[in-house]
Symmetry: C2
Subunit: 201 residues, 2 copies
Amino acid sequence: MQVVCLDLEGVLVPEIWINVAERLGVADLRLTTRDIANYDELMQTRLGILAREGIKLTDIRETIQQMAPLPGATEFVNRLQELAPLVILSDTFVQFAGPLMTQLGNPTLFCNELVIDDEGTIHGYRLRQQDGKRRAVEAFHSMNLEVIAAGDSYNDVSMLKEANSAAFFRAPDDIASQFPQFPSYTDYEQLLDFICECIGT
Amino acid sequence: MQVVCLDLEGVLVPEIWINVAERLGVADLRLTTRDIANYDELMQTRLGILAREGIKLTDIRETIQQMAPLPGATEFVNRLQELAPLVILSDTFVQFAGPLMTQLGNPTLFCNELVIDDEGTIHGYRLRQQDGKRRAVEAFHSMNLEVIAAGDSYNDVSMLKEANSAAFFRAPDDIASQFPQFPSYTDYEQLLDFICECIGT
């Protein structure tokens, strides 16, 4: 039996922080792991910016509520779920993902959590675990499941390497070209064909 | 972060083999683990009956296509998926579950598989793994997820014991009374309240 593991941001929904930065008009919230490679340092910087600007969870959620999944993503998820069990593995936070997950039909999502007080101030974050995407694939292997994975960026590579079959989806060329062992797709029809081939249907 | 693990038959959908036996009018297909405790022996008996009666997968699937989830189950699944990631852990076969899973909105399901030839004759079955429900809970723990589980019968007990929080749902009294450590619920509203309490919402 197989399970399909997909990244969320860039694969099914837009990059959340970048959209939040644009919609709230706070330019330095656009920083990503390409600017600050260390994730904890990046998150501490983001939390500092939120504190400086007085931005609370409700502000961010209102912004996210105006966002939509990538065109075609909801239909892709629906079709995929008819073929195989799906688990979305993401580095985002459950409090951010909610409004977008609803639009995707609430597929199963394992991700991280923000630490928030009663007034909605974001004080920190809790990683589910270090290298959580790769370790999820290992855990699925321990359930005797074959894993088919797709993602778009560096933080997906350890998941793709651990999976039985894997592909990039809308990865920047400079990332995809570093890992030529993974096919690279840009539309959902191609990705669905790849998954069907892996499943053998 | 939490994950909710639910049994399928008896919790969200009717018992599949019993319905198939009734609808196909083959009385001895009604046998369950209460009649033949050894699962492999039970399955070999069932496969022998299918061969004797000339029943193919298409016959069984046509029967299952006339079945529906238990009343209220689809709405329960929808509400639950807004609250927490859901994985259904079942001893049924992916080829049987399909038509019912579609009606439930295709939530994530890990189960077993039938071995079928090109003509639709069922030749055998492949367990995902021995004690697969308990081992799935262990795997979720290795992902640093807390597990909330619910099931209705003996084959769920090792899953319930391994979970962080667990309840019976519509379990026969004689089973529930043997494991008084687990609360026992009969309607979805109660089970949802229990799950909300475990999640802390």
